[in-house]
């Protein structure tokens, strides 16, 4: 199958400059992006070996001697393309704060405890149907210095590859009904309401495991359409 990547689909993304998000002010290009045709360089992308993902890398609750504190959760879904087709063998990497909203990163020094049993990093590869699954704990909200009383809604960072280098996506998965949404300039940097909703996971009772873990579903839609769609009518 030959894929095409219409640049129009990029309208779902935030603009580089989103002044409410202060860090974007000096890091967004002033000059317009230059259009060009996709060549083989843009249309191809990395393929990973089996050594990239080790068994257990998708379970963030079993990386240390004990179990991390917090609400254990399952996060799962499909990586799909713009035609709704599953994207197989796509690398999905995640990183997140612990249940208190603290990252292990040395630059996160806000007064919440680290958890010796939680690093907060994981990775997996989507299967033949595009399905992926992680076990982790629900991250906490945390304060940041963007403006007075600024708090990030709880989120999990995701990094996804897909069919080509231009399908590369780094995003954040949020949790349903977070009261911090209206106040978060990063969430609201996505101009379209429907597009913002695509960053919010849904509670999945059907796949919640009794006595063990709540489940959230998060489908990730990457760029890419079939260049020669089948005529069905």
């Amino acid at each position: 199958m030959t894929f095409i990547y219409p640049v129009d689909s990029n309208k779902a993304h935030p603009l580089p400059l989103s002044p409410e998000y202060k860090s974007s002010i000096k890091r967004a290009p002033n000059k317009p992006l230059i259009p060009m045709r996709h060549t083989l360089s843009e249309l191809t992308g990395p393929v990973y070996g089996h050594e990239t993902v080790r068994e257990g890398d998708n379970d963030l609750t079993h990386q240390h001697a004990g179990e991390p504190l917090g609400e254990r959760i399952i996060v799962h879904g499909h990586v799909r393309d713009e035609d709704g087709r599953g994207v197989p063998n796509s690398l999905v990497e995640i990183w997140q704060a612990n249940s208190c909203g603290r990252y292990v990163h040395v630059r996160d020094q806000h007064p919440a405890p680290l958890d010796p049993n939680f690093t907060g990093a994981g990775r997996t590869q989507s299967d033949a149907s595009g399905y992926y699954r992680f076990v982790t704990i629900k991250p906490g909200a945390y304060p940041w210095g963007n403006h007075h009383n600024a708090w990030r809604p709880a989120h999990i960072h995701l990094s996804v590859f897909g069919h080509s280098f231009v399908t590369r996506l780094v995003t954040q998965m949020y949790f349903p009904n977070d009261p911090l949404f209206p106040f978060d300039p990063i969430f609201n940097s996505v101009p379209d309401e429907k597009a913002r909703a695509r960053m919010v996971s849904s509670f999945d009772l059907e796949n919640t495991q009794p006595e063990w873990a709540l489940c959230y579903r998060f489908d990730i839609v990457l760029r890419g359409k079939n260049a020669t769609p089948m005529e069905t009518k």
Partner: protein, 200 residues
């Protein structure tokens, strides 16, 4: 019914933020292993081994210590390690992908091989180049640019450089250090000598 059965738009980008290092570029400093390093080199790879290095600056000329850079490139024969490149099998273990976080002074470096010539959509040769994606705190979506090489005569006829205004082309061309296979390219996210970024 899944939400995206009603709405098949793509998932929007969000910033990589300031705290990605322990997950994406741990480099021995955190309790997590690296999926990728700043090198594409494999024992079987052929071609000229080169180092590409530089610094990343913001609109005030201040070094950016929390960028992540990723490269994607062909092998020395111009073939991509991707089944979508139908022409030929590349060096068996060469993948053509690498990742690097900037340090506290905004430095990055990649160890790789100089790629070969890759055709454009009309079959015309492109000068050797590497795709570069730039992620960082304050960047709501990554930016795409290209790295060309100052010692390549083919730059003059490259169809992508040709769409870039003449006075801005230098921002895409890594400059070879005298006598070494080391190339230098600084990235400027904003301002007078702003790096050319592509709408791809």
């Amino acid at each position: 019914m899944q939400d995206n059965e009603k709405d098949n738009g793509i998932t929007p980008s969000q910033t990589v933020g300031p705290f990605f290092k322990y997950g994406l570029t741990p480099n021995g400093e955190y309790a997590w292993n690296d999926a990728f390093t700043n090198s594409t080199l494999t024992p079987d790879v052929s071609g000229d081994r080169v180092r590409i290095e530089g610094r990343v600056f913001d609109g005030d000329g201040v070094a950016v210590p929390d960028c992540m850079l990723e490269i994607w490139q062909a092998d020395a024969q111009g073939r991509f390690a991707d089944p979508q490149d139908k022409r030929a099998l590349p060096n068996a273990s060469f993948r053509g992908f690498a990742r690097c976080g900037t340090d506290k002074d905004g430095h990055y470096s990649f160890e790789t091989i100089k790629p070969g010539v890759v055709p454009d959509p009309d079959g015309k040769p492109q000068a050797p180049h590497i795709l570069l994606a730039v992620f960082g705190r304050g960047m709501l979506r990554h930016l795409y640019t290209r790295i060309y090489f100052s010692d390549e005569a083919g730059n003059a006829a490259d169809p992508v450089l040709a769409v870039v205004p003449t006075e801005r082309r230098a921002t895409l061309i890594a400059v070879r250090e005298a006598g070494k296979l080391v190339y230098r390219l600084d990235l400027r996210l904003q301002g007078e000598d702003e790096t050319v970024f592509f709408d791809v």
